[in-house]
């Protein structure tokens, strides 16, 4: 029900994001989705990639701090109110959203959204009782 993303700690310094991406390219890792949360001092680079294990190994070898954690990935109808109706599900259950980021799908009628919620189990339960499409690791590989 959940997809594993990797997060990388990057200092807000010239060339650090480039270096991380460069490391992934050299390890032959495909980046499926990416987002950056940043402060003035550092950022957290969150990625969904083709091979977590290989990506983590390559990044750690290059001195990066990496963590793997779970996000829920949903296919949201690509239309007005599409995301809103999904978020309403969490709202109703008082589940706080930590962050979300969207990425494109080759299918034109859906948008793909990765999200991290305060209570992941509760969030999944809420989703299961709705008709929202939850994507698995295997679905993502095909995007």
């Amino acid at each position: 029900m959940v997809v594993k993303q990797i997060s990388i700690f990057v200092e807000n310094k010239e060339g650090r994001i480039k270096k991380a991406i460069d490391t992934l390219a050299k390890a032959d890792i495909n980046i499926r989705a990416l987002s950056i949360a940043d402060t003035t001092k550092y950022g957290i680079l969150r990625l969904i990639v083709s091979n977590n294990e290989k990506a983590i190994e390559a990044l750690e070898n290059d001195g990066f701090i990496v963590k793997e954690n779970e996000v829920i990935v949903l296919a949201v109808p690509d239309e007005p109110n599409g995301l809103n109706s999904t978020l309403a599900i969490f709202d109703e259950k008082d589940i706080n959203l930590e962050y979300l980021y969207a990425f494109v799908s080759s299918k034109s009628d859906e948008a793909i959204v990765a999200m991290r919620l305060e209570n992941m189990d509760k969030a999944i339960e809420a989703l299961e009782n709705s008709n929202v499409k939850i994507l698995e690791e295997s679905d993502i590989k095909e995007l």
Partner: protein, 433 residues
Amino acid sequence: MFWNEKAECMNKEEKEELQLKRLQETVKLAYENVEFYKKRFDEAGLKPEDIKTLKDIEKIPFTTKSDLREAYPLGLLAVPREEIVEVHASSGTTGKPTVTAYTQNDLDIWGECIARGLKMAGAEQDYIIQNAYGYGLFTGGFGIHHGGNKMGAITIPISAGNTQRQLDTMVDFQSDILTCTPSYAMYLGESREKAGISLEDINLKAGIHGAEMWTSEMRKRIEKSLGIKTHNIYGLTEVMGPGVAQECDCQNGMHIQDDHFYPEIINSETGETLDYGEKGELVLTSLTKTGMPILRFRTKDLTSLIDEKCECGRTTVRMTRITGRSDDMLKIKGVMVFPSQIEKALLKVAKATPNYLIHVTRPDLLDEVEVKVEASKELFSDEMKEMEKVEKQIQASIRSEIGIRVDVTICEPESLPRSEGKAVRVIDERNFE
């Protein structure tokens, strides 16, 4: 149990008699052979014969690091050059390096002091000493090496760095004693865990760590992560190198090899000699070195002396853990701050690493302090609010330690400057002129 029971457990009268005799010899040697000392004595109207008691040492002018720099490189020799067999130098991070030169006899004394310390850490002749202090001009590597040789133990001159090789050596050779800087010991401990090497796979029993300031929190972490008992060692290039003093198993102050070095504590502002137990700047006088004898060297290290027989049986005077340096001390917003306090504060926050840099600036009229802390896997969280929480914890811990609010910046691992394996702890960019 003792390497040299006679020297280490001498009674007070006997020791003072020996110290006075050796002091008089050293003063005479320095006065007659070193231009610098002769000039200082003459200016003070002092003759070697005026040193009649140990107390008379207080009449001798202090020697400072800048005196040594002015004599760079070999201006303070008390013997002909042909008698010198080895030199070492300080890193020179705060100016020109200071050099120490050794005769063969000086090296033997150095080895003797280190051998006493190795024995305090439990070493025997068949012990394997993994010497991960840097070899080179730095005194750490060679100092321990001379001591290992003196004892007849097996010294592996692996030097600092190359962590994988250190771990392999620990496992393959089943090293008994690890000697390195405390920060490197911490790093090795963490690396051992990361590499999945269990404590059963290694055979370390003790560690001898020094050459930089460390705290008891750091000691706990090293002891746990390497399964060892640690021994704080003290020394400085200007006087000899490591081995001037070291802790025994009691871990209650470092035994100064006071038949070779005479310790005093002074008030660093007035120069006045303080009593046992009082905290001040350590001043050391060599009692047996002949290559480059040193009289009343101001170490800038802040400590106090204990003149009581230790539970281990040794009677040598002990010095307490160095809590700061009189010149390392920062005055921030009028408050005295020592880098060791920041380190202590960091170690109280479970996830924080003790790899830090204190950056002091004065953009306008007020001091601003930024403490940069290297991130670790434990500290890093994917969620921004968790990161902010750790930053706030660190900030609060520092504030409760030094009473000043500082900015905390988390930075990438191994991004902070290091010099010869020693971490650079302070960058003070305030202009006081």
